[in-house]
Symmetry: C2
Subunit: 409 residues, 2 copies
């Protein structure tokens, strides 16, 4: 059961002109599930993305980077679940290339105009034949109005699809931003998330598109963690189909660009938080807000120490205000000159730790009340500077163990 994550409302998933989506069931790993997605773009479209920094990055990630760098104009994306095509060496690259060539042949474009993506089990060979055999079916149902199906087609251990859409008026024009994402384990994105795709009908030059996707990723997908495991396949792609020309979007210093950037970031945050809300076994959505740091790096170090601590996460699962575990995590986050006697900590509105020790006014029942909520904010003030950051995570439950002990079998 995801935490406060409504199912996408199909009537509010606005199509993006110039972006068609088609899916198929090809049995990559399991039968009877949508596991192949093709996204076709018009010639006017530009695409930018950020990718995992895992050194064992998957073959399709390597190829997507190559194809983006080749600058031939991206015309299609192809995504399979069930198999990550990672840890597959030279053979994996050949397999990913074969998929691109099949997509290109079906659509009458070049293989270098196709970006491939895979997600699923690592260290197993990609079933190329089943994917290429399923491509015609996916291409046959390419539609503008297919975002809901697309969100389903990229799911792995996700319990529900994740999609979000928004219309925004900028400089007198109405533009659409629609995106999908998936989790739900091996989630501690580093420059990107497991899989996230965002599209807009606005025209944005390639260089600015790259700047936008980095900006948005750093404030959304790069701020979430479920288990601290950075995947081999993380990719977050931003498509600008170029159908709507908006004055100012070719100028990073314009007010219109800033407005657009904020809208793109807001949609990215919704999609990123959706991954946490549907994190494997999640029963709680936790925001960790660290302020008063000297810089973002130390705020992040403290926030992630808390967000990754199995002891903190199991205490949240138990609704047990065992809050000393939070202090321990702050203490081992790696700030060697931290003066703990200045540290303060709150659980929502409850002031728990004051000047490095238990707040004399703190009452266990107040902590208990907050711990029972489905959404909780931990706020830590390091009182040594002006930097601040927030990361989002979930708790650690029996079901996380069950899901990951069962997955694959």
């Amino acid at each position: 059961m995801p935490v406060n994550l409504p199912l996408p409302d199909p009537t509010k998933l606005y199509p993006v002109a110039g972006v068609e989506l088609g899916f198929a069931e090809v049995g990559v790993r399991k039968a009877d599930r949508k596991d192949l997605l093709v996204i076709r773009l018009t010639e006017k479209a530009s695409v930018a993305g950020v990718f995992t920094q895992n050194r064992f990055c998957a073959a399709p990630v390597l190829l997507s980077k190559d194809h983006l760098a080749a600058g031939q104009g991206i015309r299609a994306l192809v995504i399979n679940t069930g198999n990550a095509n990672a840890g597959t060496g030279e053979k994996g690259l050949l397999d990913a290339r074969a998929v691109c060539e099949a997509v290109a042949a079906n659509l009458g474009i070049k293989a270098s105009q196709v970006l491939p993506f895979s997600t699923g089990v690592i260290l197993e060979p990609l079933p190329v034949d089943r994917i290429t055999a399923g491509l015609p079916a996916a291409i046959a149902n390419l539609k503008l109005d297919n975002w809901g199906n697309a969100a389903e087609a990229i799911m792995t251990t996700d319990t529900q699809p994740k999609a979000y859409s928004r219309k925004v008026d900028i400089a007198g024009k109405t533009i659409t931003i629609t995106g999908i994402s998936k989790g739900a384990g091996m989630i501690r994105p580093n420059m990107a998330t497991m899989l996230g795709y965002l599209a807009t009908d606005a025209a944005v030059p390639q260089a600015l598109l790259q700047q936008l996707v980095t900006h948005a990723a750093n404030r959304s997908f790069n701020r979430i963690t479920i288990d601290g495991d950075t995947s081999t396949n993380d990719s977050f792609m931003f498509i600008a189909s170029g159908e709507v020309s908006v004055p100012g979007l070719d100028d990073a210093s314009s007010a219109a660009f800033a407005e657009f950037r904020d809208a793109v970031t807001a949609v990215s945050i919704e999609l990123a938080q959706a991954i946490v809300r549907d994190g494997e076994g999640a029963t709680k959505f936790i925001s960790v807000n660290v302020l008063g740091g000297k810089n973002d790096a130390e705020c992040s170090a403290v926030a992630y120490a808390i967000a990754h601590s199995p002891l903190v996460k199991t205490a949240f699962f138990a609704c047990d205000p065992n809050l000393g575990r939070l202090l321990a995590a702050i203490g081992y986050a790696g700030i060697n000159d931290l003066d703990v006697s200045r540290v303060n900590m709150w659980l929502d509105d409850v002031w728990v730790a004051k000047n490095g020790g238990r707040n004399p006014d703190y009452q266990e029942e107040d902590g208990q009340r907050v711990m029972k909520q489905a959404e909780i904010t931990v706020k830590v003030d390091l009182a040594r500077g002006g930097a601040e950051t927030t990361v989002w995570t979930c708790d650690f439950s029996y079901d996380y163990v069950r899901i990951n002990a069962d997955y694959r079998s």
Copy 2:
């Protein structure tokens, strides 16, 4: 059920001349359990130790460091479970001092000759009255032959006591090394472990004793992890009671000293591994051996990335050779210039990954066979240098979640 951890054999826990141990049940947190331990030393004894690097280190840790530095000659150690006296600010220091003063008054020594230790729940006030009220009982049963009871008296979520003892002949003299330790969660020691106490009857000068304890800790307690959470109270103490004078032990370059250092390290490794074997919810004991690194730091980074990954640990729990998760952990360990095409990986004798991809000869049933064992070695060759390291960890089970969701309540 700990993994291959026999109960200590009382007939093989050799007393250490000059070191007496006494325990009591004082109800620090729960009734009817040994939760207070006093260790009394003769005037000839020297003591050295290493302590947690957690910035929120506990009040007793701060005081123990002060008392060691004061150089008055340590004559007693006092240890309580049930309450960590950490995150307790100025009040915590006063409480720890009050316990030392009570021990000193009972034994006719100075408070600065007492080292205090606490372990248990963080952020709660220490029940000083119950501890001081129980001291006379603990002191009344001070005995040389009490190591087994002492091991029980320092347990928290441990399922069984941990003690190890060894006699060794060096330079014509027989000396004894006996120690106890406890876990079993919040275990990723950084310079020390939750609690470990080692004693020898050999005479060792203070400076060399400090050198020895650091050497042994870096090869034992600092090589284990259960959940990656570095505790606020980690302490590893080494007592040399000075009863047996051994030629050479006052010279760090002597063969006798090297022999003694190896024996102390071997006992420390037994005690450290015992903590992992009895890790919270552990069903498997896993050695992660990383070789071919440029230096110890990068070998350790890879080993800990594997040892902390919840996905790797749940796969071990499930006996599922989902070995791509191991590659993913190697890939995000932070070696930015890692050439993954040179990486090889073995599960015991089974060659799983060859040159960065799945070994073509790897058979799933071979991986399955190893995964079913209670003890497993993961070996990773980075093929970029001559450094090597090993860390020890356990798997991640339903019981870890149960224990930590229940603990405290």
